[in-house]
Every structure is written in structure tokens, then in C-alpha cells.
């Protein structure tokens, strides 16, 4: 294994450690941690054993294997961002409905406390 392998591999493992720390400190929902840990492990593995890429490339018949992680990574990122926006839209609906409901309740409370004329 060359020095470069160790460097890229430890970046992946470092990210995995950081994610565990964030979950431990309640900065990151465990649900999202599943995704990020998997990503970090993949980074670590590919960093430590870059020959994995060549092996996969040969099996799939790709002439220039280094593009595999690039293309795959890009595709997964786009998918992830799309899912994030879907999730965000859902959260926004929840938040807006909640703001609306609070206003309705506030109005009703005020009505009840109004002195009878």
C-alpha cells in the first residue's frame, strides 16, 4: 500500500468518525447517519484499496475504471439532493399547517376570553 492510499483511506475513516461524533452529540439524526456512514465507509474502502475500482472496471468492461467512482458518486449525489428537496417540501407543509393551526387556536382562545357584551 502506498502513502496515497493511507491518506485517502484515512479521510474516509475520519469522516466516519466525525459522523459518529455528530450522532453522539445529537447534531445529526441517526436516520441520516446511516447514509453518511455508508458513504464514509465506501470512501475509506476505495481510498485504501483503489485496485477495487480497477477490478470492478475490468469485470464491467470499462476501459478507464477511474470514471466509475466519479460518475457513480455524481449520480448518487444528485439523487440524494433530490430526496432532500422532497423531504424539505414535506417539512415545509408540516410547518405551514402548524403555523396555520396555531393562528386558528389563538383566534378561538381570544374569542372565548372576550367579555360577553
Amino acid at each position: 500500500m502506498t502513502d496515497v492510499n493511507w491518506i485517502s483511506g484515512s479521510i474516509g475513516l475520519g469522516v466516519a468518525g466525525l459522523i459518529l461524533y455528530l450522532v453522539r452529540r445529537d447534531h445529526l439524526h441517526s436516520r441520516y447517519a446511516i447514509w453518511w456512514i455508508s458513504a464514509a465507509v465506501a470512501m475509506g474502502l476505495l481510498g485504501l484499496f483503489p485496485s477495487l475500482v480497477d477490478w470492478i472496471g475490468n469485470r464491467l468492461g470499462v476501459h478507464y475504471p477511474p470514471v466509475i467512482p466519479l460518475i457513480l458518486g455524481m449520480a448518487i449525489l444528485v439523487l440524494k439532493i433530490l430526496l432532500m428537496d422532497i423531504e424539505r417540501s414535506r417539512t415545509e407543509v408540516k410547518l405551514n399547517r402548524l403555523v396555520q393551526r396555531v393562528a386558528l387556536l389563538e383566534a378561538r382562545l381570544e374569542q372565548q376570553h372576550k367579555p360577553k357584551q
Partner: protein, 230 residues
């Protein structure tokens, strides 16, 4: 006596809301609910002083978010009909009865106070593009001066309508998809008290509005023809 409520969303309209409410009071006797869209001025106090009930939103939801709050309120309180108006004085109280009449008489589920002659040349061009794209064959797609019956209100109160930002294309497409009968009622509109539109405040906002509406119109396309006035 039909059970009607008047809904007015307001965002920083302290300067005009008082006059709007007094004009309404002079014309009709229906309860008026002002939905305050997190105003930073005295909108709430002015509206209360003028005798309206106020629904105070804790965060800014935009014109449609505020309107939907009013519609949910109307449904919960058991009103059969709702009229929606702008707080800037554009919509005139003297047309209220004319607007709600077809809904009460059940010739339409929704009425739209239409004043297509307003707006500049480029704005009219934009509207005709939106009309063509969305399939909504109406004179005035942006008017917020409308009358709704309970069926229309129930549709619009749904969760699925919460993420809309404006009350034009998205709302009309939803009504159209459920085959509600829409009727345009010709009205005159006054100048806004503060003189400018909130939707078309800057070029960036116009661009955003157009892009948003084009996507919404294309994705929710619905063939709509309004019912003929009886």
C-alpha cells in the same frame, strides 16, 4: 340568511386595511376575518379596531398560505360561503353581493371577480401565455376577489394545496381538476392604496413568478371553461 364570512389576508397593510374594513361594513353585515401574515406594522391593531376578527400567523406564509388559513377557519367555524378580498383596496366592497350571489344560488361553486382590463401590456402578454399553457380559459386568472362554497373551501383547505405560493394557477387548476363550476363576474377594481403590486415588486420576482407559474401551469394542466352567467 346565508352564512357568509369575508376573508382578507394582510401583510403590512396598516395604511389601507382600516378603510377596506369600513367600506365593507357600510355595504354588508357579514363577519370579517383578517389573516395577518406576520406583519411588522400595526395591521393587527388597526384591523381589530375596525371590528374584524384577526388570525395572527406566527410566521410569514405568503398570500396563499394566509388565505388557506382563513379558509380552514371558515370551515371549522361552519360557514357555508366565503368571499376573499385583498387588503390593499383594489377590491371594492360594493361588488360583494354581486360576487357571492351565484354561489349562494348554486349556479357556481366559485366566482371570480374579473377585471381583465387592468395591468400593463407585458403583463397581459404574460397572462395569455399562462392561460394557453395551463388550459385555464379565463379572463382573469390572477384575481383574488372570489366567492367560494363549502365544497370549494374543503378542496382548498387540503394538505396538498398548502405548498402553493399564489392563489392563481395552482388554486384554479385544483378546482378545475375536481370539476368545480367557476363563474367570472365582471367587476371594476380600484387603484391599490399604496400603488404597487406585491407579486410584481422587482424584476427578479417577476422572473420567479413566471418560472414558477409556467412550471405549475404545465404540470397541473387542466382544461377549464367557465360556466356561462345565467
Amino acid at each position: 340568511m346565508p352564512n357568509i364570512v369575508i376573508l382578507i389576508p394582510a401583510h403590512n397593510e396598516a395604511a389601507s386595511i382600516g378603510k377596506v374594513l369600513r367600506d365593507i361594513r357600510r355595504q354588508v353585515d357579514h363577519p370579517v376575518v383578517v389573516i395577518d401574515d406576520a406583519s411588522e406594522d400595526d395591521t393587527i391593531a388597526v384591523a381589530r379596531d375596525a371590528g374584524a376578527q384577526v388570525l395572527p400567523l406566527a410566521a410569514h406564509l405568503g398570500a396563499w398560505g394566509a388565505m388557506q388559513t382563513g379558509i380552514r377557519h371558515a370551515l371549522r367555524q361552519g360557514y357555508d360561503y366565503a368571499v376573499t378580498m385583498d387588503a390593499d383596496g383594489q377590491h371594492q366592497a360594493r361588488y360583494l353581493s354581486r360576487l357571492i350571489e351565484p354561489v349562494v344560488l348554486e349556479t357556481a361553486d366559485v366566482t371570480i371577480g374579473a377585471y381583465p382590463s387592468r395591468g400593463s401590456q407585458p403583463r397581459k402578454l404574460a397572462w395569455s401565455v399562462l392561460r394557453r399553457l395551463s388550459g385555464l380559459k379565463m379572463e382573469d386568472i390572477t384575481s383574488g376577489f372570489r366567492g367560494y362554497n363549502r365544497r370549494a373551501m374543503a378542496l382548498l383547505a387540503q394538505r396538498g394545496a398548502t405548498l402553493l405560493e399564489y392563489q392563481d394557477i395552482g388554486v384554479l387548476a385544483l378546482l378545475c381538476r375536481h370539476n368545480l363550476r367557476l363563474l367570472e363576474v365582471p367587476v371594476n377594481m380600484g387603484p391599490r392604496h399604496d400603488g404597487h403590486s406585491r407579486v410584481y415588486r422587482s424584476w427578479a420576482m417577476v422572473a420567479y413568478y413566471m418560472a414558477y407559474s409556467l412550471i405549475l401551469g404545465a404540470s397541473k394542466r387542466c382544461r377549464l371553461t367557465t360556466v356561462a352567467p345565467s
